[in-house]
Symmetry: C2
Subunit: 284 residues, 2 copies
């Protein structure tokens, strides 16, 4: 299958590596943000643009009959995006896989499966340690902050600590910056520590992680315990998930199952390269 | 949906509990092993018979147009069962979900997803601590053994220790029993300890567990680490998985997607009770 990459930041570069190592894919083209996208030659377009631009780029590609994959990550708006793209995909006889990263994405698959096999109970998704993009951007916007990095630290039961490393502008006052950060809506509800450092660039690290737990009930039997952990390179995993979903999108399109899907609506076997029968033999 | 349970041992009873607690299911009937099965009134039959009898009972139900679910667990013969039931399901316009337990089953979903998101690497599935049915049956068949229990102990990297608890017949010699067990093909390849106990019944415990690990490569990035753990009541989990798959079988039948499927061919959302949109909002 021929794959186009739209957007060439961290995620676009990771997707490129995953496409080039996939045995069943050919990279047709990498389109930078401001390229002309009116005639993309590919079976599937992987959208590596900022989340807020996903709807616009998805429509542009779907209208050309391409399958699309994105890693749209605003949890509360995923269902809306799905509803928005669904009729377009059906009209253009194609398939979009949306919210295809690790959370939302592969974590969602784990959450759905654990809810199915222990329907009563509580799932906690604990993120990190790792950089939060949203919180980092919020901290960078504070007056007196030259550069910032907000790390998410898991404290268990879905509670997180924010460690905010700030590089101050000349003459900025740490106490004042700290006060502004602590009252920002991004930080006001969590335990937050603000630490001044000489260079934020020196802390740069794309490591991230998840600890997802569920204690639940199967039938009438309580105390069923489940745990999913990962410690990963964030853009590399996101890129690989998107590439696996690109494969599923093309297969579902070929099967005539047009529409917009989240990862919990895909069969895991469709994410895999190679022969379906062989994968069933090896993995079931 | 109306559910029939075929077979009423440990698993049949666990399935009954899971059906009775499911908000979208009605238990139509429980058929014991020797019941007349010529006119089952249900949408889906959950086959809780011994693994070797699954093909026979599945055919009997499929020929009546019922959807079926089984937890057939001989890994090397799952693909064969799928090939055998596939044309029957298509001919009778119905759906079978096969090998629907926790391994094969929900573990298979985790293995498939981890292979998709880190395609290069090694997955180790470590079982236990918990009772191995196959090894227990093999130990019970040894001359001089009145009752036995073989526990599987995980040593990591897919290597297991066998702890065999034996209740000896009057006058039986432990040394001789131990020798016979150690040379039995079930035990000859693993570290095995044989321990005499006054009562095997007193050790009875249906707890089991899994520690599944993968270290792999996403794109060109090595050292991606994943781990899935569970500590569960074995029949309760198997029963709940089968009930979740019964729901998926009926939904796929309604969608006209006739055939035989393993769990890695199902969309996780189809395993869940309730409204699809609401589940997507809650879990993605």
């Amino acid at each position: 299958m021929k794959v186009a990459i739209i957007g060439y930041g961290n995620i676009g570069k990771a997707v490129e590596q995953a496409v080039l190592t996939a045995p069943d894919m050919v990279l047709s083209d990498v389109y930078h943000h401001n390229d002309n996208l009116s005639r993309i030659k590919a079976d599937v377009a992987i959208l590596c643009v900022p989340t807020r631009e996903v709807p616009e780029y998805a429509q542009l590609c779907i209208n050309q009959g391409l399958a699309t994959v994105d890693s749209f990550d605003i949890h509360t708006r995923i269902s809306g995006l799905r509803q928005q793209l669904m009729p377009l995909d059906k009209q253009n006889k194609t398939v979009s896989v949306i919210a295809a990263g690790w959370d939302p994405g592969s974590d969602s698959v784990v959450r759905a499966m654990l809810q199915a096999i222990a329907p009563q109970g509580i799932t906690y998704t604990n993120f990190g340690p790792g950089r939060s993009m949203g919180h980092t951007v919020a901290a960078k916007a504070i007056e007196g902050v030259k550069d910032a990095l907000s790390m998410t630290i898991p404290l268990g039961t879905g509670v997180h600590r924010r460690m905010v490393y700030v590089e101050l502008e000349d003459g900025a006052d740490l106490k004042r910056v700290e006060k502004l950060i602590l009252k920002d809506d991004y930080f006001a509800h969590d335990e937050t520590h603000v630490i001044a450092v000489p260079s934020v660039a020196e802390l740069n690290n794309v490591a991230h992680g998840v600890n997802l737990t569920r204690s639940g009930v199967s039938g009438t039997t309580h105390n069923q315990r489940f745990e999913f952990n990962m410690a990963i390179n964030n853009p590399a995993l996101t890129g690989q998930v998107m590439v696996a979903c690109a494969r599923a999108a093309v297969r579902m399109k070929e099967a005539g199952r047009f529409g917009a899907y989240t990862m919990i609506e895909l069969a895991p076997v469709d994410l895999l390269a190679g022969d379906k029968e062989a994968n069933i033999k090896a993995l079931v």
